[in-house]
Amino acid sequence: MTAPPLAAPLLDVQGLSLSFATARGVARVLRDVTLAIPRGRIVGVVGESGSGKSTMASAVMRLLPPNLHAVTGSITLDGTDLLALPPDAMRRMRGRRVAMVFQDPMTALNPVFRVETQMVDVQRNAFPDRSRRELHARAVEMLRTVGIPAPEKRIRDYPHQFSGGMRQRIVIAMALLCEPELLIADEPTTALDVTIEAQILRLFEDLRAGFDGSILFISHSLGVVSSLCDEVVVMYAGTVVESASARDLFTNPRHPYTRLLLECEIGEGDGRGERLRSIPGGVPDLFDVPDACIFAGRCPQAHDRCLQGVPALREVAPGHRAACVLA
């Protein structure tokens, strides 16, 4: 394998389409998703519930549910095509090269093992040669870094002895311990209440300094993502509708969906993306996807041209891409 040129992104997702087999038929959950994460950057992915954010993240981890129907496209991490890797090679990538923090901290940790056991075991893949004592010491230090008080004592506790916010810190610590090149955080604050959410977000901002990998940060909320991330990808019903630097996206959104998102969030004022539901109209049916703009049913600017094929995600300004015929 030859080293990719430096300018090449760390993660490169190209034309990723993915479907699940269900009792109702085949659900085309991701369609032609393209996004890139440059080295050392934080890229945010926003979209309302069901837009396919978690599915996209699971595809990168290759931890997809068993009812997977078909995948096409490519996911390249640092020059390696993840979708083509044999299962055991993919397993060895996890933790060491790419790690993930899940949505719900309450169920993410194994209830019957000490935090210590779990924190030591997750490092084994990344550092097979280090002794247990070393791994333990690193775990204690990392707990201190993420803000767990008295870590040398608390590490002997079980997950249920910690609050939700503390558990999320532990999971983040576990991910950071592996020093992955790519850290995926899938709505790490959605399950937490607002004050704890703010603390965890501050933790991510503090970590930026000490972590030199890239982060894929998934969120409901444009507000959260824009303050934390360098670049933002907006997803809608299984496709990417717009991607740009955080500033461009905020000051000059090009896709009608992004604009509506921004209006809703500013209107609601609390910065939490659940209000996306106030955009009129329903989410399209993923079982029968029309050959048209997927947002046409809810778009205030929709017109005839929008129904003639799916608009391509094209560059509308340097580094700014949108999938809308008007953009």
Partner: protein
């Protein structure tokens, strides 16, 4: 008081209550048997004087509450009286055969766990495979066969037909190998149903646990599948199996009685069986009492092992 101490003392108190209840029931057993226990014991040709003398020796002439208290006193001090037939202390008779029953039961449980757990794990990690389907059919037929039927079949096939394994008894004292060989058929006949039971139970609880989010977390960190199944999932999945085993010990002890009779092994089962045939109720009482105590004790151990398996069940000092 420390929460752990409080939990333990509460648990011990309920155990004690169960024992008191069981002892009272055992006492009531002598009242339910028709006729005078002394004359029943001595048979139809005993003289009235002999019956009266034995009745007095057994305390049968005293008022009921005194007899109950006496019985409790006997149980508490471990002095279960003297066997009228052999003239030996009943406690000694029970203690002599107890190790055989305990060994047989432990061997059966051990065998059931050693075969059932891996079988269940295999089935859960290869759901729908040919092996899974074979395991399912085997398990269900093991569960469906009563263990005395299994015992008789094993005896016919391996001892009489193939002549591979010795038939009867517990083996020469001191000859460990002989004793082990003679343990094979009885413990297999006892364990077979439990193998099926544990395999099915392990399969379903392991499948459920493998779908839990924390297993996904373990996968997301590249922990090898083997370690995920046998370390991270197994400890969670073991909890229902341990619960069933705890309840099952009573049935296993009951099954041990059949196995002992069929394979002519010494043990509590044969002791109680012979005592019933000779209507020697004090010995029956003592044998049943020991079985009850064993049952209560294992249930206590099972309860304590829950706390070991699942830290959430341990008494809490507080959550931060």
């Amino acid at each position: 008081m420390h929460p752990t101490l409080r939990y333990l003392s509460g648990r011990l108190l309920t155990t004690a209550l169960v024992v008191v209840g069981a002892v009272t029931l055992l006492f009531a057993l002598t009242l339910l048997v028709p006729g005078n226990p002394a004359s029943v014991l001595l048979g139809p040709r005993a003289t009235p004087e002999a019956v009266a003398a034995l009745a007095e020796r057994m305390g049968l002439d005293r008022p009921l509450h005194e007899r109950l208290l006496m019985f409790f006193g006997q149980v508490a001090t471990g002095n279960l009286g003297t066997d009228v037939i052999s003239g030996r202390p009943i406690l000694t008779m029970v203690m002599e055969v107890l190790p055989f029953t305990v060994t047989l039961t432990i061997a059966a449980i051990g065998l059931a766990v050693l075969v059932g757990v891996p079988l269940g794990c295999y089935a859960a990690t290869n759901p729908g495979s040919r092996g899974d389907r074979v395991a399912a059919v085997l398990s269900v037929s093991f569960i469906a066969m009563p263990n005395f039927v299994v015992a008789i079949f094993l005896l016919l096939i391996f001892s009489i037909w193939l002549d591979w394994l010795p038939v009867l008894g517990a083996g020469e004292p001191g000859d460990v190998l002989d004793q082990l060989v003679r343990l094979i058929l009885p413990s297999v006949s006892l364990a077979l149903g439990w193998v099926g039971y544990i395999a099915r139970l392990m399969r379903s609880s392991l499948l459920e646990v493998l779908g839990e989010p924390y297993i996904r977390t373990a996968r997301a960190f590249g922990i090898p599948d083997r370690k995920i199944v046998y370390k991270y999932a197994l400890k969670n999945a073991a909890i229902p199996t341990v619960a069933i085993l705890g309840l099952g010990v009573g049935r296993l002890l009951g099954g041990a009685i059949f196995a002992e009779i069929i394979f002519a092994r010494p043990g509590i089962g044969t002791l109680v069986y012979d005592a019933i045939l000779t209507r020697n109720y004090p010995v029956v009482q003592a044998g049943v009492l020991v079985v009850v105590l064993l049952f209560v004790l294992t249930n206590l151990l099972v309860d304590l092992s829950y706390a070991w398996l699942d830290p959430r069940l341990r008494p809490q000092k507080g959550v931060a």
